[in-house]
Point group: C2
Chain length 418, copies 2
């Protein structure tokens, strides 16, 4: 059996994401909703802000009463009252009248705009001079100007940032329906791997992957569950996999996916009930010996044991699958940071390369070509790809396509932040 | 008393950050360390990986035994044994000999490199042919090549990403000394503000700031503590402030900082023990009516009540102060995303403007000028600045300096991601 019978490009692997459904929903307090994904459309139950509101401190007026007003020729308005914050004014405003108001106050009936206090002068207790005209709706927010009643304000699948949480709170949603947090099981395999609390003898190495991979899962707002180290033994790996699949929504197995002497992962995955190996090998470097299986509805990944490769694979392909499980309706646009390459980088054709880079400030960014100069430089990290310190020094990953033989110094590239 | 006696530029406010010390330290499990800040240098207790290790599946060899090998003229090597993963090989390698080895295996004594399995062919049980020469240390990581014993691998003040957590685990640090998570108290003020569970009558508005500001604090890996809504009353505000200062490392008061009729925040802050108002007004838009006080060692912010202004101020200046408390040794470099402006944007001189923008893919990014075309466009969000929907639509903030009157369409700008 040819182990690499199923080598796929990154795009081909990515296209498999639709085979996996989102996790279930739950209802949580809006105060806990940041970084979660909304699992239902949110519809405004009322207009927002709900009344005509001042956005400046000053005087509510009929705009028409201020037309033509200037320093040289101020408009003189009669003071009809003062708006108390949070109260409904118990008076209306006729043309030629004004009412003092603070930012956030409700305009009296009849008023359509606010003159900033800086452009006024109180003449006496009963009148005020206006030095600058305003247009209707100037310095106010109208009753339905932010959102109108029955409008869908946030859609199912929206990532909840602080502003979305604030908006939901402002509309009175003290609870929100969101996708629950996916649990991601992490299994380390390899007879050379020992727990981090043990002192490694020659030939042994501490379990880095359980911790670094858990970090990426957490960073992506999911819950890592560590299942510890499983010896290179099909029966133990099968038992661990079955348990992890029962308890989690996705499983990562690190190690054991290379075509080595003890390559049990594919055999074990193939032996699980209702499980199909979709990918065995990805034309990506680092990360070639990556396995993806579908067990019932859940993705199971066989990741390279090599620590840097495992991290890169999680960053570039596991996280997008996780986002699908998390309930994002469409692929999350990964914002990349443009930077100028500091030197030539070579790459093999037919393979997608990910090169670690340091981002530095471009000393020429404020030069005469300011408008065209990229503010950042991308400097490839030197050192063998297996060294974890290359990931410690790196700020990001530079992706080089399959059909590119290399990139020249000074090329403008897009960096995936690490 | 001139309320705006103390208006400062953003740079001036930022320079005050050094007046505030970092919070204290605590010891936590390395599995919980992601997104925390290291509070002590981390020194390698041993070499890493600690032994000469294969980075490829293949054969461990003396490199010199392969020199000149090619498909046409392979080198013939005697098989001295097989390295078991995690074991110390119980045999050495003489010139002219080879040993099969898997990725991660320990090289036998004498071996200095590994030939990839793809460049070999097993002849019989006792010998292998090598089709490509290797150089010394090729396809291996040497004993101290990642980190050497006694080397400082991570410095006090380092933000712990997944790779730093993995490295610490790999060096056997099952616990790490980190700065504790700062607690940030959030107080909403204003007679017009009601709890989100209540139905607002005219003139009232639900408490958005307590939720949106808490979101930004959480996003910055600190702990928000909501103190609810305080009526516009100096005594209540003073009591709430004192309690929040006792329980938290930083306090945010939203509302009450404009020169309105009920501007109590400065008065209340001035009346607190051991408290000094450092800033009252910032030449920034939105965000002018921002207050910063120092109470004992703790920063207290008076934020605009207007929801968009409050969010922008937290993003641009409160978070950098929070990072100082969190233990970052130097200001965190905020990675900004270059983009091309889609239209002219005007700005007032003498004021730092922050304009909300949507980031869009540049349809010309793959055109003939690929190397110079910026992959993203920044489209300013339309709508009055007080509308929360402008923050919902926005992907980022465009900063325009005090000495710039505006920016022309097509200018390459840097966007702060929201």
């Amino acid at each position: 059996m040819n182990h690499f019978f199923n080598v796929k490009t990154l795009e081909e692997v990515f296209s498999l994401v639709d085979q996996f459904p989102a996790v279930g929903r739950e209802i949580i307090d809006v105060g806990d909703a940041c970084s979660r994904i909304l699992a239902a459309d949110l519809t405004a139950g009322r207009d927002m802000p709900g009344f005509r509101r001042a956005t400046m401190d000053g005087y509510a007026v009929h705009a028409a009463s201020t037309y033509g007003a200037s320093e040289a020729s101020p408009a003189w308005l009669e003071l009809a009252g003062s708006v108390l914050m949070g109260d409904v004014p118990d008076f209306g405003l006729a043309p030629g009248q004004a009412a003092s108001i603070s930012t956030g106050g409700m305009l009296p009936k009849g008023a359509d705009s606010v003159v900033m206090v800086e452009h006024t002068e109180a003449v006496d207790e009963g009148s005020v001079e206006i030095y600058k005209s305003v247009a209707p709706l100037q310095n106010v927010i109208d009753a339905a100007e932010d959102f109108a009643r029955d409008q869908t304000v946030l859609a199912d699948g929206t990532f909840i940032r602080p502003q979305e949480a604030g908006l939901a709170a402002g509309l009175g949603f003290s609870e929100l329906t969101v996708y629950r947090v996916p649990r991601v099981g992490i299994i380390s395999t390899g007879d050379e791997i020992i727990p981090i609390t043990q002192e490694p003898g020659f030939g042994k190495i501490r379990d880095i992957n359980s911790y670094s991979l858990a970090g990426f899962i957490q960073e992506a707002h999911a819950l890592p569950v560590r299942y510890g180290i499983i010896k290179d033994n099909p029966a133990s790996l099968k038992t661990a996999c079955e348990r992890a699949l029962q308890e989690c929504d996705m499983v990562l197995i690190s190690g054991g996916s290379s075509v080595g002497t003890r390559d049990y992962t594919v055999e074990v995955l193939s032996s699980l009930a209702d499980t199909q190996v979709l990918v065995h090998g990805m034309s990506v470097s680092p990360g070639k010996p990556t396995i993806l299986a579908k067990s019932a509805n859940k993705p199971v990944w066989g990741l390279p044991g090599q620590v840097v490769s495992a991290m890169v694979v999680v960053k570039i392909i596991v996280i997008p699958f996780l986002q699908r499980l998390q309930g994002y309706m469409k692929p999350v646009r990964q914002i990349r940071v443009p930077a100028k390459l500091t030197r030539n980088v070579s790459s093999a054709q037919g393979r997608r390369d990910f090169v670690r880079v340091v981002l530095e400030d471009n000393p020429f960014k404020n030069g005469p070509l300011e408008q065209e100069a990229c503010p950042l430089l991308a400097r490839p990290v030197l050192g063998k790809s297996g060294l974890i310190r290359t990931m410690i020094h790196a700020d990001g990953l530079l992706e080089i396509g399959e059909h590119v033989e290399g990139l020249e110094k000074e090329t403008l590239v897009d960096i995936i932040l690490l």
